[in-house]
Subunit: 377 residues, 4 copies
Amino acid sequence: VVKIAVVVTARPSYAKWKTTLEALRDMPDVELQVIVAASANLERYGAVRGVIEADGFPIAAECWTVLEGENLLTGARETGLALMDLASIYHRLQPDIVCVMADRREILAAAAAAKYQHLKVAHVQGGESSGTIDGVVRHAVSHLADVHFPCTNPAKWRIYGLTGSFDIHNFGCGSVDLAKRAQSEPLVTEDELGGAGAILNLAKPFVICLQHPVTDEADQSHAQMWETLHALPHGLQCVCLWPGQDAGSAGISKAIREYQETYGTLHTVRNLPPSRFLRLLTQCACLIGNSSAGIRESAFLGVPVVDIGNRQRGRQRAKNVTWVPHEQSAIRQAIARQMAHGKYPSSHLYGSGNAGQQIAEVLRNVANDLARTSKSA
Amino acid sequence: VVKIAVVVTARPSYAKWKTTLEALRDMPDVELQVIVAASANLERYGAVRGVIEADGFPIAAECWTVLEGENLLTGARETGLALMDLASIYHRLQPDIVCVMADRREILAAAAAAKYQHLKVAHVQGGESSGTIDGVVRHAVSHLADVHFPCTNPAKWRIYGLTGSFDIHNFGCGSVDLAKRAQSEPLVTEDELGGAGAILNLAKPFVICLQHPVTDEADQSHAQMWETLHALPHGLQCVCLWPGQDAGSAGISKAIREYQETYGTLHTVRNLPPSRFLRLLTQCACLIGNSSAGIRESAFLGVPVVDIGNRQRGRQRAKNVTWVPHEQSAIRQAIARQMAHGKYPSSHLYGSGNAGQQIAEVLRNVANDLARTSKSA
Amino acid sequence: VVKIAVVVTARPSYAKWKTTLEALRDMPDVELQVIVAASANLERYGAVRGVIEADGFPIAAECWTVLEGENLLTGARETGLALMDLASIYHRLQPDIVCVMADRREILAAAAAAKYQHLKVAHVQGGESSGTIDGVVRHAVSHLADVHFPCTNPAKWRIYGLTGSFDIHNFGCGSVDLAKRAQSEPLVTEDELGGAGAILNLAKPFVICLQHPVTDEADQSHAQMWETLHALPHGLQCVCLWPGQDAGSAGISKAIREYQETYGTLHTVRNLPPSRFLRLLTQCACLIGNSSAGIRESAFLGVPVVDIGNRQRGRQRAKNVTWVPHEQSAIRQAIARQMAHGKYPSSHLYGSGNAGQQIAEVLRNVANDLARTSKSA
Amino acid sequence: VVKIAVVVTARPSYAKWKTTLEALRDMPDVELQVIVAASANLERYGAVRGVIEADGFPIAAECWTVLEGENLLTGARETGLALMDLASIYHRLQPDIVCVMADRREILAAAAAAKYQHLKVAHVQGGESSGTIDGVVRHAVSHLADVHFPCTNPAKWRIYGLTGSFDIHNFGCGSVDLAKRAQSEPLVTEDELGGAGAILNLAKPFVICLQHPVTDEADQSHAQMWETLHALPHGLQCVCLWPGQDAGSAGISKAIREYQETYGTLHTVRNLPPSRFLRLLTQCACLIGNSSAGIRESAFLGVPVVDIGNRQRGRQRAKNVTWVPHEQSAIRQAIARQMAHGKYPSSHLYGSGNAGQQIAEVLRNVANDLARTSKSA
């Protein structure tokens, strides 16, 4: 039996892990060790931990490291704390491989804690090019990783250019697996959605607004969200989701509260489990904001997207995405164009819906090779 | 006045910083902030902190993070602790640039703590290719850095390949500045050298043996040092230095103690200030082990070198270096060849002795540009 | 000049420090070092840090250690983090005395970090007897302290019994200094108060409701607050303040939000600077909840108080306080009785309004004695 | 089944735990969780961890927190780190009781980490009165503890005075259990003892010298050990043990090395498992230094003891102990007197040799009561 540890640190990355975790759990010769770290433990960032357990994955270890303050200092300090704690957790669990995803600050800690203890590191979703500090972290983590699972072909070549590694596998993104699955699931109803604010009729056209802070524009997050919200056409139904954790979240939340106190026209939702979000995405007329779901899942689903600002800059886009800066009028016009266009044909730019199974198989093989090597040594 | 922070974490990197620190200190429009971190605070790794103060650099902050245990777990954990503490220190000192050197584990923490707080990062001695985890850290730090001061031309091109940055300046290595200076200084005498063990006559030929543990061969460090020591020819005077801090140091120290208890023919020295080491290097007949001084300073000085094992693998070498594996007979033959050959002509592969002044000038300019930008903003 | 460090970790204790800080700041031979730690740095616990700066005290050091999660685990872990960071801060500031207040978990860390470095520790507000873990922390800190400033005579004797120390001075509580001062200041107006919810007329009778979670009843905090809120008589104006940080805060906040969504009869206020709170207290008809202001400041002011539950258990009370358990009907009856009674005569049980000056003088003398001793040594 | 966690942080306290651990391990309804923390993980403080495993106790968790530097700052910081890590460990293991021993700095962290999470705390060896910071820690821990196992009757009354608790049980000290057992075991031979330096004949009279640094006299540790070593009579065989970890250890070790380099008359031993130490103690003519074994085990064994300096100040002594200050001549005379006197009759001041079994039974009962209470709740 080989031991494969997967570190989950945030709501969006759990969605991308889910089909891989299912595949690993179903392999009889694999012991799956789910490590819940950073914001994934916290209620106020979507209580991912509870979602993981409800999805049937036992939690092997937890790591509470997020500092209150949500500023650049606490952001740096909590990364150090995560490195320290994850090092002890890996030492205890002794995994054959540690798997990390993407480019949040704490991922550098999760990868270094493993690499510094001579454990193999697998990195999912590396090699992409994007603005902000995420891009820096992503490439730094590629250097710390031994096996790479990028989600696009350009990302694959970029990782090769950085590392010279031959262990790079592009199976697309796990989020697309879920998007594909969501297409055959029941529609979200108003009751199931829950939330607060304006009353919704999901049978009629509605948009989803999901905008996260951009780390190095944290001080502008409030102004940016203000532009987006004021660009929403009157009378258009809007499901507005609260942002994930990062420097600047407070600004976005404040803009939502202020807008809502003035107009009350949003329907706000705090905790949306990944699968429900995707089913809602299949139903919506347009996704507005800067979520990676606009780039990835929406490509496969053909959902029209208005992508705002720098957060997804440099990422490959299918035809369904229109980019605009943080300007009310530009955003308003783009929404109008996308609402008029309607659904796009499905694009396989970010995968065709079976990434999880393929990633899991490679992980098992790598872990088995390691186990064989160390036994014969 | 611009504020430039320099993080010193170990004895060997201080030597490479020294001429840069002197140049920065002498600039009236620069406030130099020396931060002493990791093993640089500790007596048992050469008491670098005291050397820095004796050299006339006031210490702006100190950071005690090295954990006892010297194993892979504590090595990872103390990196997290360093990240956490350095983040607070930068927050307090508010430097315009944070400067880090080379590739020790804690350097990733020192760079991330700055970058995550949106401070500019300067990285000295990046871009080199070497075996072991150092190479991984070095390239990851290049991604976190904004300004780069590699020491060789191939390193310069490699950093460009990794980062696409145009802010890359090769002025050679600060250690060569000191090597050049050492040539015009008085010779080391037996009294000045101090130490224990066999009595030396420095007027007669002697070798220096300096072998550090290789992080991912830590469990072999004792055996490796055993091979080296038993390769020393009978009757050859040998100044043997104790290793720097890292997983595996204990094994090397043990081998030295055991050899000394049996033969007593080594002259062992614990604390050798960088400048004294370099003067001794100009005097010695051959340098044996895996110190970077064999690759860099010795290239400029033309000192014959027997470089052993993987620690310097992939580094560019001038003609003065002979490489051998950790095998007694191979080492013995290489020592014989190098003793027979004698001094080599000086090579400028790692610089021509004025790196510090040039690095300091670029740092000042970058910091001034930043200060101007933020003032006009 | 002697150096006196004062560690401020929370909104309520800052109020009690304020007159001492003023007195220390005005002493020419004292260097006051204010250290802002734990929740005192955070917006969501009253942004005490900004209040301190606005009051004209420069901040010598800050310490960001509060972990998100607000559970027993993070509560314990953040205490360790505070101990670690405060140790480094004291080492840098080199105070002659470190002053800490009362009994929050992090105070044990603040005292131990000093005592373990052989610094003198002054403890304000020790020796009181109360339920919950606070009492345990308070007595443990008394053992770590060298000079004691209890606020009541029974507390003074208790500290003597625990420690055998003769360095125990009862000058009353600094909060009473501010209560006395508030009596001669202008009344709070509706505009100055700010806040949200029901519209207030402060010229008519109103009550203040301020209820904090009890650490070891954290899971009941929501139910407890529910009882209190539902005990409020219809038509009675109520200024309801949000709770301070601790395990269970979320439950109390939730109860307030729920009550407010249903009835909307509360006037809620998030950030109430200490001085404004005290002026409001002089105006109110009754204080309801479990705040220590009901026990201390209200004694001096003669304000009727309904004290609920275990949080203030064991504390000495003047005649103005009626205690009830967390039961709606008991609370409702007590409110009615206190509203009917009206103001009480002033009690000096917790001091007569000049504690700060007296504490500062003793601190200066102790610090001077130390300085003399170490100079002569 | 109830879960009882025992935190072992140092060599001397493990010896006192041993018979309790054996009794707990043999109880079918108890799950024993041994947590190895602080210096107990480290080779250079006696590798206690290996001794524990060799004694047949599986290790449930380990905690690496000792910082290099051995000064007051690192001593304080590592306590914070221990608090943070132990909190996570308790959270994972969910013990019904956490057991801690005595008064080392980290014990305050071990107790607070449990108490702050509302776990029951058992404290062994509280209530004694002694000089130095240990006494402060010991009493502070008594306040954090719920069940107390002091080792003497005066200590029992003192804990009652401090805490008012009725849960105080004096069964003597676990070290005496081992001393009793050692009396019926084979004598230590020269081969078994190992070590370095002068050759011993254990059949002839010899003394044991064991002197630890006194935390708040850390800067005098070298001078203190110098006095002791130079007081040893010429020709007297002496087994000299290296000191335990604490600020000042380096000074003592240095004094031993210097003395040995000059005279070479000591027989130095680095790792002496507790049981072997006790067997050696039954054989020796006199114990010299400041070890608690001189006060406790030696009382039961009747071994003559020369107790030096403040480390054991305030501890109850049987007739076998002579106290002297750190003065060469006083120490020399005391050694002469004790050598002349020979063995003393056995004293039961610190127990009669069955403490472990009795402590274990009370712990089991307390844990069972808790389990019943929480089940019925």
